[in-house]
Symmetry: C2
Subunit: 223 residues, 2 copies
DNA sequence: GCATGCCGATTTGCATACAAGATGGATGCC
DNA sequence: GGCATCCATCTTGTATGCAAATCGGCATGC
C-alpha cells in the first residue's frame, strides 16, 4: 500500500513519475491543495499523459493526492479534522508496531534498536535538528520492521508520509529534541524487555506528543 | 485506501472496472494466481486497454493484485507466511478499531451495536450461515465506523477484503457460528461499557480464533 | 446590480497506434 | 538426448488523437 511497493529494477515511467511527484509533495514543493495538471506534469517530465495518469491513480490510492472524476487531481488538502484523524491513525499504527516488535523482535534487532537509540542521544544533546530528524525516521522504521508484519509496517509508513506535509519542522518547537529522546527511551526499554503493553502505551504517548508539537508549531506560524 | 474510495456519481470507466475486477476476486471467480490479461479484460468489458490499465494500477495499490513491470498482473497469491501476516494485521486493525470505538462511540452507536449483536444471536442459533455471514460483515463494519477514524477504518476494511479469498466458508467449520457469537458478546460488552483495553483484547481474541478456523478449514480441504 | 444562460477554451477520459521487452518453441550444437 | 540460442509472437509500455465534460467569461434578461 506504499508508494514504492512495486520495488523492482526496471521501473516503468509511471512508477518513476509517482515517486517523483510523491517526493515533490513530501518536500513541500507541491503544497497541499496544489493542482496537478496532467499536461503540465507530462511536459515537465518530458513524457506523454498516459504514464502521468497512471501515476496519479497510484498516488490517489495512497492518499497523497485527491482525484475527482473529470475534475482533475490536487495534492491532498486535509481539513483540521482529517489531519487529526491522520495523527491518531499514525499513533495507533506506531503503537501497534511497537507492541508487535516487543513480542517478536529478535535479540539482534533489539540490540540494534537500542544502539540506534543511544546514538541519537548525542544528536539530541548537540541540538543537531537535521541529523536527528533523519535518525528519527530510521528509528521508527526499525520499529516498523521489527513488527515482522509487512502490511502493518507498510501502512504505518504510508501514514507517516501522509502526515509529513503537515508537520514539517516539528522539531523546531523548542525543547522538542530532548523530550523526544526521553520518550524514545521509554519505548526502547519496553520493546527490549518484551513488555508489549508498555511499548504500546509508550509509543502512543510519544506520537501524541509529536502531534501536540505540531499543533504548537501550527499555532506559532498562524500568529 | 479502499477500492470504492473515489465514491462519486459519475465514476470513470477505470473505477467501474476496478470495482468489477475486485468483485470477481472477492467472489472467487478470479482465484489467487489468476492471470489478468489486459486485452482479455478489455474485450470482456468492451473497452480499450487504457482504462483497464488504470484500474489494474488502482487494484495493485490496494494489494488485491500484484503487478510487475512488463510481466503483467495476477490476482495476489500470498504465501502461507503472507497470509499469516494478513490475518495478524487484520486482527490488530480490528482490535485497534474496537479500542477506539470503546473510547469514542456515541451512546446511539453503542445501542445500535448492541441491537445488531442481539439480532445475530437468533441467526447463530438457527444456523443460518449465509445471513449470519452478511450480518457479521455489517457488525464489524459498525465497529470500524465507531472508531471515528477514516484512515484506520478504511485500512481495516481493505485488509478484510484482502483476506476474503483465503477464508471463504470459514463458518462451515462446525460450531463456529455459536463460538463467534459468544466472542462478539465479549467485544460488545467491552465497547458498550467503554472498556478500551478490554475491547482490544476481546477483539484480538475473536479474530485470532477466526484465523484458527481458517486454518482448520484449510486443513480439512487439504485432506 | 445580480442572476442566468450560452459559448469558447481548456482539461480530462478513452481509443487507437506504435515501440519495446518478454515468452515460448523450433533449431542447431554438443 | 539434453541444452543453449535465436526468432516469431504475444504482451505490456508509451505516445498520440479524438470525444466529451468542465470552467470561465461575457452577454442577456430581470
Amino acid at each position: 500500500m506504499q508508494i514504492g511497493m512495486r520495488t523492482d529494477t526496471n521501473p516503468t515511467l509511471a512508477d518513476k513519475l509517482a515517486a517523483a511527484i510523491a517526493d515533490g509533495i513530501l518536500n513541500g514543493r507541491l503544497p497541499p491543495g496544489e493542482r496537478l495538471d496532467e499536461v503540465g506534469l507530462a511536459e515537465q517530465h518530458g513524457v506523454s499523459r498516459t504514464p502521468v495518469r497512471e501515476a496519479l491513480r497510484q498516488l490517489a490510492m495512497s492518499g497523497l493526492i485527491d482525484m475527482r472524476p473529470r475534475k482533475g487531481a490536487i495534492v491532498s488538502k486535509a481539513t483540521p479534522e482529517e489531519i487529526e484523524s491522520l495523527f491518531v491513525a499514525m499513533a495507533e499504527m506506531e503503537a501497534t508496531c511497537a507492541r508487535l516488535a516487543a513480542m517478536s523482535m529478535t535479540p539482534i534487532e533489539r540490540r540494534r534498536l537500542q544502539a540506534r537509540h543511544e546514538s541519537m542521544v548525542a544528536l539530541a544533546a548537540a541540538g543537531e535538528t537535521e541529523a536527528y530528524s533523519d535518525a528519527n525516521v530510521a528509528f521508527h522504521s526499525a520499529i516498523y520492521a521489527g513488527a515482522h508484519n509487512a502490511p502493518l509496517a507498510d501502512y504505518a509508513m504510508n501514514l507517516r508520509r501522509r502526515v509529513g506535509p503537515y508537520r514539517r519542522a516539528q522539531f523546531r518547537v523548542d525543547g522538542r529534541l530532548l523530550r523526544s529522546n526521553q520518550e524514545h527511551d521509554a519505548v526502547v526499554r519496553a520493546i527490549v524487555s518484551g513488555d508489549a503493553a508498555g511499548a504500546h502505551a509508550a509509543m502512543i504517548h510519544h506520537v501524541s506528543l509529536v502531534e501536540d508539537a505540531f499543533e504548537a508549531f501550527a499555532a506559532i506560524n498562524a500568529a
